[in-house]
């Protein structure tokens, strides 16, 4: 009882110390943590899993380097997944400062998985005005993107042979920090009715679950945690997992303190009642 009473008015510095350690320890000793996988992320994973060896996946990486910390882990996980099972990927970016970053990620991972530009994947580059670009791609990828990012005409790319528009891809995954998701939903899925999933920053995720319910999208990858879930599913721990290990420890510490606080509160309250009951 004495202990619990002390816990009621614990010096806040013990809490600070615990939080500090919760962040410092994973920084020194890295360890893997199991991540509970949500239904929405599993659906995206299963979708990519079911894309056949020569079938096409369309990946839109519509984010600027400012959202890199949250969205790059997702992009890497999806590309690793797709590349490792030999399905082909067409990549675009509808974010102004996206191209350099996207080029870096795709070429690095392609090298790692020994995938060939123009055969196994294509990076079409950037076009302004996302809504119109999406609609024009629904007509023909060659309309907004006559050439790819590297200046090769689309018709000369092996991957694009017989590939005209969204009818020729299995589905679209849009990674975004927000606004372009609406356009993919309205102008992409709305007009051309292809399966669409989005990966989005943690804070924005709450606003997009409604589209899941209305079946306009089939899956959501929310923030770093979603990326970690995806990494867990493909058993390739990356940045997402690393981030999540910090978060898991820190969250556990905070939850633990809340629980202690409540136990202490109820225990001391009962005691007080027993004392005060005589009056």
């Amino acid at each position: 009882m004495r202990f619990l009473e002390q816990m009621m008015k614990i010096d806040r510095r013990w809490i600070y110390l615990a939080i500090g350690l919760a962040v410092i320890i994973p920084a020194i000793i890295s360890f893997k943590v199991p991540v509970p996988v949500s239904k929405e992320v599993k659906k995206v994973h299963d979708f990519v899993e079911n894309v056949g060896p020569n079938e096409l996946l369309f990946l839109a990486m519509d984010y600027d380097p400012s959202s890199m910390a949250e969205l790059n882990p997702m992009a890497e996980a999806i590309l690793k997944h797709a590349f490792s099972k030999n399905c082909r990927v067409i990549i675009v970016t509808l974010a102004q400062f996206g191209p350099g970053m996207v080029e870096e990620i795709t070429s690095r991972l392609a090298q790692e998985y020994n995938r060939q530009l123009g055969i196994d994947y294509a990076f079409l580059g950037y076009r302004p005005y996302p809504a119109i670009t999406i609609m024009l791609m629904g007509t023909d990828f060659r309309v907004p993107f006559p050439q790819d990012y590297y200046g090769t005409p689309l018709d000369s790319l092996e991957i694009m042979q017989g590939v005209k528009n969204f009818n020729n891809v299995k589905g679209v995954i849009d990674l975004t920090a927000g606004n372009t998701a609406d356009m993919w939903i309205v102008y992409g899925n709305g007009r051309y009715n292809f399966p669409l999933a989005i990966g989005i920053t943690g804070v924005m995720a709450a606003d997009y679950y409604q589209y899941l319910q209305s079946k306009q999208i089939f899956g959501i990858i929310p923030g770093v945690k979603g990326a970690a879930e995806y990494e867990q599913l493909i058993e390739k721990p990356g940045q997402g997992m690393a981030q999540v290990s910090y978060q898991l420890v820190a969250h556990s510490v905070i939850i633990l303190f809340i629980l202690i606080s409540n136990v202490a509160y109820f225990a001391t309250r009962k005691q007080k009642k027993a004392v005060g009951g005589a009056q």
Binding site: I10, V33, P36, L248, H251, I254, I258, S261, Y265
Partner: protein, 204 residues
Amino acid sequence: MKREIPLMIVTVTGIIMFFQYFVPSNFSEDVFTFLQDWVMVIGILSLPLGIWSLVKANVNKLKVSDERFYSAVLLLGFLVMVISGWMPDWRSKGVHLAIFQSVLIPIQSTIFSLLAFFVASAAYRAFRARSVLATILLLTALIIMFRFIPLGPISTVNNWLVEKILMVPNMAAKRAIAMGIALGATATAIKIILGIERTYMGRD
């Protein structure tokens, strides 16, 4: 002269800016940009008031022995930044940039990161089931935080719950609060323009 005319100015400019919103013409757009610039220019040219207030307070503190060192640091920091800000290329190299990068940026992000500690201590103190309201606050926050903790099948249920909480009551609360704020802010602005709310103007 000292109070009535300024209050009239508030009314007139307020009404002009209100109606401007509904007029898309070139003239109206020009008025909008020009008057917005007024606010900006008044703001910029008021900065000496702030600097004076800061410098005066710290020059006074130079006389207090306990404070002397700290106030000197403050004044020195200010002077070095202002003087180095006159150098050519001040934003891309030199003392100004070095201090910006090794003093301002690290201190700012460290103060911001104090929130990690304060989130925990605030949760420890506030999230006790003292009342129904505190219990609701506590339970919701716990459910949301539990999304990081792997608990097997419980996690599946928890994740479902997280999604529903974010989508329904969280959304409803945000919308209702926003609507209330819209009405409160509009009512206050209307009172200001009608001259009913005038404490900010002071009196002689």
